[in-house]
Symmetry: none
Subunit: 207 residues, 2 copies
DNA sequence: TTAAAAGTGTATATTTGTGTATGTTTTATG
DNA sequence: CATAAAACATACACAAATATACACTTTTAA
């Protein structure tokens, strides 16, 4: 199927796939030109045409290209596609959550861990601000950004400038954030119902 | 084995090997011409043809040459018994890892480096895709093909169509591939636990 | 309604492998 | 020695594949 592709065609295909995963669209002729190191858009346009002739790409009804169904290799599980997610070091009230100074790095996460249509970020757990039993200093929390939650969800909230993870419970006109285990240090937090959370903890990653 | 090669043929072979390791491809007729000091491309073309007739080179299905027998220099078992292992140049999407096109050469490796019962292959490290401190551009990685690993093993994984070497760590429902040293560029990669690796890095051979 | 961005056509340039003819050096042999 | 045969190099040219320059629509967004 792909055996008669030249080096440049293969490289183009890589760029196209990458662009699909990371930007959601096939790159423009000029983007592809830059990616492949060409100096004229014609060259990359020709490559696209060739890929179409080789039936790797197909034009959709709106004239745009689409990748013709990828042959899934037998060892598919061993080929991962990832998406980059910002890793936030510390989060404080007042600073927009994705402000530059918060972003420590971009971490690659398997796209299988991601629901499309949502934004995600990673947060590094620090000290005891996360009072959950299974979150330790240095762990990474994968958080899906959304402002509503169901009862029982583990949510990230900003309480007194601290990033805090607790169980979400709405009851009556209030929101109660419960620590998993109640003790002297970890007590529930009671908030007005217009309080907004930052997101839902999807995964806890121990490094 | 190489005893019936002329001086120029041997020199050509050296240049070809060097080009293979450092640029990942057999040199063009004109590159080889320059390397050998010829003034016409014909001369080097003839040499290539001769090497093919002497079965030092072989044409792959895509028309390109591959080296039939590439001995690792130095004293990697120069007199010892050897076994031939494929040298893979680039590994790309959709192409089975041992497809003809990927195999640049067959390299002789001392059998003392090989555990019986496993398949092996060599991979050429390219640029910075291998972020380990002790793997440099052009090094050859001897990889034992297997799909499971223990925590701490150095594994080869295909991430977004890049061959990547990182430390394997399974924790909870996830697999985390850690770079040896973490910094802005080299961050862990977080994958779902059904992810399968390509193999384990057994040796790093610097040429 | 305009300006910028994106895709495409034509013509030309560059690179690559290879063919033919010819020149040069080496070697073997009468 | 002489010289023919073989091996090795060079010059030049051609076709196919690739890449470039540039201009001209069409599309998109302001």
């Amino acid at each position: 199927m792909f055996y008669d592709l030249s080096d440049k065609e293969l490289e183009a295909l890589k760029i196209i796939r990458n662009s699909l995963v990371h930007q959601g669209s096939i790159p423009s002729v000029r983007e592809l030109m830059i990616g492949l190191g060409y100096k004229s858009p014609r060259s990359s346009a020709v490559i696209l045409r060739t890929l179409e002739e080789k039936e790797i790409l197909r034009k959709k009804s709106d004239g745009r290209y689409q990748i013709v169904d990828f042959e899934i290799p037998e060892d598919y599980g061993s080929r991962a596609q990832t998406i980059k997610v910002p890793l936030l070091g510390s989060v404080a009230c007042g600073i927009p959550i994705f402000a530059d100074e918060n972003i420590e790095a971009e971490v690659s996460i398997s796209i299988e861990m991601i629901k499309s249509g949502y934004k995600y970020f990673l947060l590094r757990a620090e000290g005891d601000s996360m009072d959950e039993a299974d979150i330790n200093d240095g762990d990474l929390l994968l958080i899906r950004q959304q402002q509503d939650a169901d009862n029982g969800d583990r949510v990230l909230a900003l309480i007194d400038d601290e990033a805090t993870v607790k169980e979400y419970n709405r009851s009556g006109g209030m929101v109660i954030l419960k620590p998993k285990s109640t003790n002297k240090i970890h007590q529930p937090i009671i908030l007005k119902s217009d309080f907004r959370i930052q997101g839902i903890v999807e995964e806890v990653i121990s490094l």
